[in-house]
Amino acid sequence: MKKLSGLWRNWLTGGLMKIEQENAAIEHSAGQETVLKGIAAASGIEIGIVLVVGNTPEQPLSFYETSPISISEQDVPFELSRLDAALETTRNEITEIRNKVKVSLDEKEAGIFDAHLLIVEDKKLKNEVVAGIKEKLLSAESVFSGVMQRYITAISSVADPYLKERAADVVDVAGRILGHLLGWKRTLLEHLPGQRIVVTKELTPSDTVMLDRENVQAFATETGAKTSHSAILARSMRIPAVVGIPGILSKVRNGDVMIVDGYQGVVILNPSPETLEEYALKEAENEKIYNDLLTESGQRSETLDGYRIALAANLDDPAKAVELEKYGAFGVGLFRTEYLFLKDHIPTEEEQYEVYSTLASRCGAAPVVIRTLDLGGDKISSLINFDQEPNPFLGLRSVRLCLAYPHLLKPQLRAILRAGVHGNICMMFPMLTCVDELDELLRILEQIKEELKREKIRFSENIKVGVMIETPAAALAADQFAERCDFMSIGTNDLVQYTMAVDRGNERVASLYRPFHPVILRLIRHVVEAAEHAGIWVSVCGEMAADPMYIPLLLGLGIRELSMSLVSLAPAKHVVRSMKYIDAESVAERSLLCSSHQEVKEIAETFLRMTARGVLDLNIT
């Protein structure tokens, strides 16, 4: 997606600012300081300007160029119906605004909305777009934005300053229509008008792909819990986030000043000068603690009694591989590939090969674990036809989806095998429940190896194959999985969710999402024993691995490798270097005997307080 430059970009930005100011002025006359409580999801403090991102166009308008998307002949009626729907919705919207304005302003002022309506209803314009869709076989938004741009260029190329300025009306309407064709949320997220605190209901993984990451200062969301997607994203970007703030969307407006306090889990609307001062001090203090930890990142990851612990990074962007050393990571413990599939086409084998081999060569001898496609549940790609499932987390997701649609899986397996010759690549299958799924995957893998041999294409014959243990079924059958593979990695987010039967994104039950629950520890212990028995390695790559409170527990349970987001590595290494393995073992033993998560939490907290207090203050996760 190319961004619009020059005039449109400026206009867009200007328009957004203006709307923000107007909204702020109209709806928030008094700047009363208001504290709203939520769940601390990612630590840090940010002070900034709010941008509310909704699914509806109560919000700014933007108009931008889309790269042309080709469609097939059969898709023409669908694209035409999307165009009709977008025009219809836009017309209703403008009519509604017109009627509101008519009440408060005079008829003449409302007249501009008549002009907007005439653009939406313009038959000549619509015919051009329809013809374009049919003849060029391009998507509705591709043709529409092309046609509109021609008009806008024609209008704004005129010398007369009055007329030139009025191109704004056309840009405005075009933006609305495009917004409906593309989805408002996406349009907004991709074009933040500057540094902003994003306030929204909740971000989906596909939203995060579009996100203008450079300009997001912090997130504040109405729903969600510590483990929901905006929270995970915020932690990996190392920006603060507070989630699950009931009613925030009805209390903030664009342009409001807000403090996001990711330590306390509060946001402060319209802070007073005293509050601002206090927060500026806190912010500086935390930066200092973190930067001090970062200076230790080159040190060995070893406990005080000499046990080496491998700390690896979770990545989804191969470009970030250059930062492994800075943060003190040894290799990549989890490379997520979903993001390749959340773009505008299914990535080809060659495209994937390119990404994986670049990543492998950047990491040298350090292992790089590539996880096969983990879509479904809440990660939905528009490229794949997902039937609406009543219960997607228990539905056709992840490896189940890949087995059902081998055309998704096979090119990926080929690409991973081929990239294996450029470095130390391992392959990992997510979300298994039964060993026969693994047997089937291994059979397909052998088939593909035969194919590659026949085609005389180089690949890594002895690539290590691992499984993710993220369902109770897989954890309990870990001994059987261990016989069939080279390593296991425990995905704690899903494991906790499925074991506790709690949707981690649902704030009404999120308090039951309890990684500290002794049953989780028992499952982990079971997996570790199975791995030890089979003589294979086992790691943890979920959120638990990144939380300093859990690290001693996990090590005590026998885990020797942790994989986490880059920014969590420095505090984790500090925890490892501040404790003795022998003490961690007793922490784990005592915890396994507990009957509630609170008891476990107390043990873990007390231990961390005694060993690495600074990290506890930092509260990095």
Partner: protein
Amino acid sequence: MAVKESIKEVTIKNKLGLHARPASLFVQAASRFDSEITVVRKDGGEPADGKSLMSMLILTAACGTVLTIKGAGQDCEEAVRTLAELVDRGFDED
């Protein structure tokens, strides 16, 4: 029988020229008639469809521009007269 035609020349008088609001008044007025309406700049360029706002907007007729309004159809005389008056009145803008 040949289609009836009527032609009239007008000059844009309102300061802001033929921007969205006046153009939309023009399109609304033109759409009330059955005749086909075309508008062309006297100094050249593509003829615009008088019933399409987008088409009228790309005429980019600033204050002082001379336009030819052409109507074709049974009610063309009344149509062209009405539209010419609208332009002459400066779209009641100034």
